[in-house]
Symmetry: C2
Subunit: 526 residues, 2 copies
Amino acid sequence: MKDADSILIYDTTLRDGTQGEGISFSAEDKILVAEKLDSFGIDYIEGGWPGSNPRDMVFFDLAKKKTFKHAKITAFGSTRRANLKAEDDPQLATLLEAETPVVTIFGKTWLLHVTEVLRTTPEENLAMIEDSVRFLKEAGREVIYDAEHFFDGFKDNPEYALKTLKAAAKGGADWVVLCDTNGGSQVTWLQGVVKQAVEEVSPVPVGMHCHNDCGIGVALSLAGVEAGARMVQGTQNGYGERVGNANLTTVMPSLCFKLGYHFAAEQNLEKLSRLAHSIDKLANLVPDSKAPYIGRSAFAHKGGVHANAAQKVSRSYEHIEPELVGNRQRILLSDMAGGSSVAMKAGELGIEVDPKSSEMRSFIKRLKEREARGYEYENADASFQVLLSRHFHGTTDNFKLVSYRTISEVVRDNHENISEAVVKIRVEGEEDIKITVAESTGPVGALDHAMRLAFGAHFPELRNVQLIDYKVRILQTGLGTDSVVQVLMLSGDGEKTWWTCGANPNIIEASWQALRDSYRYKLLER
Amino acid sequence: MKDADSILIYDTTLRDGTQGEGISFSAEDKILVAEKLDSFGIDYIEGGWPGSNPRDMVFFDLAKKKTFKHAKITAFGSTRRANLKAEDDPQLATLLEAETPVVTIFGKTWLLHVTEVLRTTPEENLAMIEDSVRFLKEAGREVIYDAEHFFDGFKDNPEYALKTLKAAAKGGADWVVLCDTNGGSQVTWLQGVVKQAVEEVSPVPVGMHCHNDCGIGVALSLAGVEAGARMVQGTQNGYGERVGNANLTTVMPSLCFKLGYHFAAEQNLEKLSRLAHSIDKLANLVPDSKAPYIGRSAFAHKGGVHANAAQKVSRSYEHIEPELVGNRQRILLSDMAGGSSVAMKAGELGIEVDPKSSEMRSFIKRLKEREARGYEYENADASFQVLLSRHFHGTTDNFKLVSYRTISEVVRDNHENISEAVVKIRVEGEEDIKITVAESTGPVGALDHAMRLAFGAHFPELRNVQLIDYKVRILQTGLGTDSVVQVLMLSGDGEKTWWTCGANPNIIEASWQALRDSYRYKLLER
């Protein structure tokens, strides 16, 4: 076995994680996620339940052809059916067909489930556990036994719950994992139960599988480790059924920086934020800005006192150095912000301004007016930089809008829709107004294409600029279609990305503003 | 004092909560929040820091005129400045001017802050705490002393940290509150420290103020209560600086249902989801679907096995009854869904269908095709119901689009923008095509107005239908302005609300689809 303070990290993002609302990965995406987890140093990667759906079967077929440098891939399934030999159970057969070095099976701990869901006897359930584990061990697999509803079962009947673990141990399980399947357990009580389970099944090591239904999935996992568990199961970004599984992007840094345990991935923690965000991207989710350690807001400071102190002595208001998990300190603008926060923020963007100048006062006034109209500079650094630069450096536009018109239509007897934009702009140094027209699948795209035509050869650096993401929200809800629409737009040039904003009751105008700021920002490089 | 298992709930949504990124309340909104918290049975409501900004001063002026039926309003501030008499300190004076029954002041525990931030001596800091508390007590206030950075200070110098608490007790503090200001503490260690502090300051009762930086803000608060603390400070929905404060919408149900403590608001927990969502609405935030207990996903089940079992024996996969916190069970659609999930979902919407029929197979095929094109039925029940009704009941449209055209423009030398829509539709039972034109501030509004004109007297029930919320996201990022745009639209008729969806590379077309489904849904009532 390992050292007393060594922990194994077991990732079930690809199985339990996909039970979360709105989480869906293609088999190819699953392979990409597995490769990222492997590079990061995760010890076990649960790829799916081969018997449950065709997509997971495709994943295991693809995984067979890959070489993972550190992680062991595991296939998930259940114990054999009641009153059937393990060797005759089709579901156990599919687990072997997945050809993974490790197989994880779950079995029942809670008598409620044994009698009401499986509709079998307590004795047959113990036999199902022991037989299934032995069958998989004899086929040469490392076997992890997940004791489903372990804590609910223990509360109901501690003796029987421990018997199920011993049945798995007797069958030869390499690990028994205590699952708080419904997520209702509390820390102090759970810790006592884990201690007892660890003693009872020794020398078989114990793992934890917790959920976040009481908002304490991470605390339960860590409490289990402190009580002697040596494996933590969880998901990246806390994906998972209902409110999610124990969040490994929180568990890992706390194990390392707070409790001093060791695990293979600890050497890569400074890539943690990037890992978490890249998995969100594959899951098509916007990263949670309030995620501990890795969220955009995790080291963000608002209000003069804290922001000032945090810049001076960062540990005065930060529990770890943000860089240890690949994050960074941010100073926020807010309508509580005074000159010093704006000056700090400007400094962060490379613009030096005097926090006490009258120019600063007029800038803050302007900022607050614009914020009151719906512009959101807190999340649109590029628009903020454009505003700063225009105010303090007197930067003027390299182009000026004269007018635009967008038309979006579905024409009669032809169900296709098309958008067209006419743009009239003045480009600096040119006498005539440029008038251009372009089509696209939508009005914002049409405006964008027409703009590019108008810029022509004048601004070659804009050629590679592309819209990457686009978010729209209504600011005052309840006003019907006349509400103010706020647009946030992410653009990129292949090297870096930047956010701009727009706000107007008209979604086209708000989008146009964000688009214009994106070009203005890129042209600041001149 | 209270019974041994009685806890006081101290809400700082309006002060510490507003330090969160993107959280901002007007003084009037703050009053609305305070009224909601009071009705709910919250014991203390920290309204703001009167000395720090004019808005908070307005709040306290408004609060003076209100009668709160249960809650005590508290004003927040700091101890006196170094080397100044308490009675000469302008900041302490503003705290009294707020005229609240309770004043909460924070002081320094951690010598790093005493020397580096306050730049004073350890002895003067103790005097600042004792003097300030005594001054406020002599003015007739209930005084709560918040020991800022208590746990970091204790780690650094336990003896000095405890001395600061005793200074507050000596000054006459009614409560001392242990703050984990930077959010870096861990459960087991913190619990031991709280026990020690409770003994040292007895009989003065102790409170907890925790943050979520390690994802365990709730667990720390509960651990403190188990160690003898009798007050919990936190925020609704976990608003607050960085990743937020301890989330009271999680702490409260866990205290009640999991640990058996008592507090005034426990009798209102079945209104908890509504309270939390109404505060999000005032903060202009979309409720977190993954919030424990109260999130939309908290009792949502995906995948055949769990969904089936949860419907049969709900406690088999639910840690409490959702209704206890005003939530409900939901069955999710997903591409893992088979006939039985769709049938359950349909049943939930009042439509009975046979899960094994060939009609069901063709429906699931259609559903999956549409999901693959970007429609999202998981969050758009009304669109799903329209689809179901058309497929299983052969419902046809009461109106049919012939064509539409929207124009959005900024005309030359006039910086206002305007949108116009022309709609041509056939209304059932009418010979001629209706051709209508309307203007609005945006293209979706213009389409909506033109539609209503066309419907005219035919569908009077559509008159009260209004767009309430509107969300847009890009599905495949990285494709520039040609990406598929997904629109989710919330409509209401004054009595109920419903979500519909649309998906198309053209944002106007996607919006039109969501708008059309909203009308189709309302007309299903016929």
